[in-house]
């Protein structure tokens, strides 16, 4: 048995491999090329129970755990990083905080359809002027009787447009800085809530990344997630967990690129032999495989900690920092071993390299991960 995995995790991985091979891999190049959201795959993921892995059955989840969920992100991302991030944003950034901080009523109303996969989730923190410095939120929520009225906008929102439920951060008291931020649950059909322009991106091009625009959106107070002023705390906690998912995505991309490369070097002949016979190839592959394994260990340790209620903030940051670097290095070297063919869109490794870059940026850049890690060292 593999370190840290139970029998159900091994069977789950087997199912996910079959699912990825049959349903995800055949679409990966097409959705990248056409910048098309893989709606049909998300529907198949719902049927298989992939959309609610870590949530209890009483909330229509699968009764699984975080290790199972990151296994899913990893396996999907081996073939298609877009599909991986659709699941990651849905599970750890939207359903996750509602499960962790929501009232019983909110869980009934929002978590159940998210965990069953009937509805898709998204999360909104980033704004044009509030990236790493999330305290500069310009989206404002003003109290009005039983409602809050929200005005402002968010950018770079994953799953935007296709998601039905959004966890959004807004300033309820700008004078308090981060302590003036509050989290709200918004629904796609609320009047005044519109989806803005779609980003044209370098990678994960099938993923829908758009602007959210709030124009006098009346949100009932019952949709407030956590207490007034707790939004920043909720966002940071949510991103801690989300980072394990992104680390899993990065591991998946790297593993996928390595698999493609191993197949290629065995087939490709130069100087009358397969290029796998050259020691340069062998040494590069050995290095990459070792780094991938190290990244996976960090990633699964963070997931294990989360499942076992052990602190995982630093561990998640380390996992994401390292796994994203490994993903970029592995995909880069994968192209190098493919030579000219690797640079061509006929082979998947060029897409994988474009996809890998985002893992160093979203859900906290690598620099933010270093801030988080060092804050634990210099306490």
């Amino acid at each position: 048995m593999e370190l840290g995995f139970d029998r159900e995790h091994i069977l789950l991985r087997q199912m996910l491999k079959e699912f990825t091979e049959n349903e995800v891999k055949p679409l990966a190049s097409e959705i990248d090329e056409e910048e098309r959201f893989p709606k049909e795959t998300v529907e198949k993921m719902r049927v298989a129970g992939i959309m609610g892995i870590p949530f209890p059955e009483k909330y229509c989840g699968e009764g699984g755990d975080y290790i199972g969920y990151v296994t899913a992100v990893e396996e999907l991302s081996k073939a298609c990083a877009t599909t991986g991030v659709v699941l990651s944003a849905h599970t750890s950034l939207c359903a996750g905080p509602i499960f962790e901080f929501g009232t019983e009523e909110q869980k009934e109303k929002f978590l159940k359809p998210l965990a069953s996969g009937e509805k898709l989730g998204a999360f909104g923190l980033t704004e044009p002027n509030a990236g790493t410095d999330a305290s500069k939120q310009e989206t404002i929520a003003i109290e009005d009787g039983d409602y809050y009225i929200i005005n402002g906008s968010k950018i770079f929102i994953t799953n935007a447009g296709y998601a039905d439920i959004y966890v959004i951060m807004a300033m309820t008291d700008p004078s308090l800085g981060t302590r003036g931020i509050t989290a709200f649950i918004l629904e796609r059909d609320m009047p005044g809530f519109t989806i803005g322009k779609k980003e044209k991106k370098m990678g994960i091009r099938g993923s829908a990344t758009c602007e959210l625009i709030f124009d006098d959106v009346r949100v009932p107070k019952s949709n407030m997630l956590g207490k007034v002023g707790y939004g920043f705390k909720i966002a940071m906690k949510t991103l801690d967990a989300g980072r394990i998912g992104i680390a899993a995505q990065a591991c998946g991309i790297a593993e996928g690129a390595l698999e493609e490369t191993i197949t290629y070097v065995k087939e490709r002949k130069q100087f009358n032999r397969a290029i796998s016979k050259f020691q340069n190839t062998q040494f590069v592959l050995a290095d990459l495989a070792t780094k991938i394994d190290a990244a996976r260990m960090l990633m699964y340790r963070a997931a294990y900690n989360k499942d076992n209620n052990i602190s995982y903030t630093k561990e998640a940051a380390m996992a994401k920092l390292y796994a994203s670097e490994v993903a970029l290095e592995v995909t880069n070297k994968a192209i190098q071993l493919h030579g000219g063919y690797g640079y061509s869109r006929e082979y998947p490794v060029e897409r994988m390299m474009r996809d890998a870059k985002i893992t160093e940026i979203y859900e906290g850049t690598s620099e933010v991960q270093k801030m988080v890690i060092s804050s634990y060292l210099l306490k």
Binding site: E8, L11, L12, M15, A48, G49, I53, E62, G64, G68
Partner: protein, 260 residues
Amino acid sequence: MKIVVCVKQVPNTANVKIDQQTGTMIREGVESIINPDDLGGLEAALKIKDQNNAEVIAVSMGPLQADKALRECLAMGANRAILLSDRAFAGADTWATSLVLAKAIENIKPDLIIAGRQAIDGDTAQVGPQIAEHLGVPSVAYVNEINLNMDSLIVKRMFEDGYQTIKVKTPCLITVLKEINQPRYMKVQKIYTAFRDGLVEVWDNSKLNIEQENLGLKGSPTRVKKSYTKGVKTAGKVFEVSPKEAVQIIVDKLKESYIL
């Protein structure tokens, strides 16, 4: 309605390696899977369950490691799983295997028994029909379509050059081809519950009470003289040309080989 599905855990390989000395398969280092035709049988049963609220019971004879195959059946949606495992069963040929399966099925009393056409390791296609013989129920092999009536089935039996439509009274046994359907994925929630204790029942011969001389190697009339892998032919060449050019190519080739 009660449906028994017979499943076999087999090595996942298209070209099984044979130990030249013993004439048996080398199983070491080969991943085990559910036999593909049996997976079709399970899916067929689960489809009936989806529509008619049937109870699906997966039954397998094999070593304790076959537990994994039965957990997979549970994760796909089977209600129960029974592993028939006893040292005395070891070395059984198709006759001794089908006897054990039949005795177990007698205990379950199903309305329908579904087996895969044949296993990818032995390829005999005998166990299914033999179970029906032991039980004295009708059997239809090579089924590619099932329609359920009150107390009968209408099934389509496939041949290489055509098919038969057959009405068969239940209880009965059918063997199905893997082409009958596309098996569903295991459901995540069921994967997590499939490993709970007691879900796979293990029955040994104390439950089945079969005479020792009818079990395992002793109960097997078959003796394997020799097993071998057929030599691989070299790959053919495809010419996409007009009929006229094709004739010329054929004539040239025949001349080359001094046949003409």
